[in-house]
C-alpha cells in the first residue's frame, strides 16, 4: 500500500520569506501523480500544484513550486514571497496512474505566516 509522510506538523515563516514543506512517499508503482492541496480555515480543499511522475521537470504555479526527486521519493513544496493568505493546512497527496483510485494523503502541515 502506498503511504505519504509529512514530517512537519507545523511550520512558521515571516511574511515575504520563502518556506519549504516536506513530503515523502512510498510506492512500487512507476506511473503516478502527486499533488499539494491547501485547506484554509474555511475548510475548502484547494489544489495548489500537481506533478506527473514521468515528467522530470518540476511543476511551478506562480509563487508555488515543487522539488520532485523521484529516486528519493520526495516531493517538497516551496512557497516564495509568503503572504498572509497562504496560512493554511497543506496536504501532500498521491494517486497511482490510471484507474479511478482515490488520493492517499499525508497528515498535513499547518503553515503559519507571521506578519
Amino acid at each position: 500500500a502506498q503511504t505519504v509522510t509529512q514530517s512537519q506538523p507545523e511550520m512558521s515563516v515571516q511574511e515575504a520569506e520563502t518556506v519549504t514543506l516536506s513530503c515523502t512517499y512510498d510506492t512500487s508503482e512507476s506511473d503516478y501523480y502527486l499533488f499539494w492541496y491547501k485547506q484554509p480555515p474555511s475548510r475548502q480543499m484547494i489544489l495548489v500544484i500537481r506533478q506527473e511522475a514521468y515528467k522530470q521537470q518540476n511543476a511551478t504555479e506562480n509563487r508555488f513550486s515543487v522539488n520532485f526527486q523521484k529516486a528519493a521519493k520526495s516531493f517538497s513544496l516551496k512557497i516564495s514571497d509568503s503572504q498572509l493568505g497562504d496560512a493554511a493546512m497543506y496536504f501532500c497527496a498521491y494517486k497511482p496512474g490510471g484507474g479511478a483510485d482515490g488520493l492517499t494523503f499525508g497528515k498535513g502541515t499547518h503553515l503559519i505566516i507571521q506578519p
Binding site: 503516478y32 475548510r43 475548502q44 489544489l47 490510471g98 483510485d101 482515490g102 488520493l103 494523503f105
Partner: protein
C-alpha cells in the same frame, strides 16, 4: 455554478439516528468519492463510484452506504450514528483517467451528540 456541491454544510444529530449527505457535481467527471477528515485533520478515502459501480470500498463500517442514482450524484447514507462518526465528510470528483486534479466539495461537518 458550484462544481461540486454537498448538502448540508453542517449536521448535528443524536446517536442512533440515520442521516444522509448529498453530493452533486456538474463537471462531467466519471468518478466521485467520499472522504472523511477526522479531528486531527487526517483525510482518508471511504468510497469511490465510477459509472455507478463501487470500485473502492475501504474498511468502513457497513453502517455507511454510498448511493449513486446517476453519474452526477453520490450520496452518503449513515445508519445508527455513533459519537465516533463525528467528522468532516468531503465529496470529490475526478476524471477516470489521467492525473487530473480532484475537485472537492466544501465539506459537511457532522456532529453526533
Amino acid at each position: 455554478d458550484t462544481a461540486v456541491s454537498q448538502t448540508p454544510k453542517y449536521l448535528v444529530t443524536q446517536m442512533g439516528n440515520d442521516k444522509s449527505i448529498k453530493c452533486e457535481q456538474n463537471l462531467g467527471h466519471d468518478t466521485m468519492y467520499w472522504y472523511k477528515q477526522d479531528s486531527k485533520k487526517f483525510l482518508k478515502i471511504m468510497f469511490s463510484y465510477n459509472n455507478k459501480e463501487l470500485i473502492i470500498n475501504e474498511t468502513v463500517p457497513n453502517r455507511f452506504s454510498p448511493k449513486s442514482p446517476d453519474k452526477a450524484h453520490l450520496n452518503l447514507h449513515i445508519n445508527s450514528l455513533e459519537l465516533g462518526d463525528s467528522a468532516v465528510y468531503f465529496c470529490a470528483s475526478s476524471p477516470v483517467t489521467g492525473g487530473g486534479g480532484y475537485t472537492f466539495g466544501s465539506g459537511t461537518r457532522l456532529t453526533v451528540v
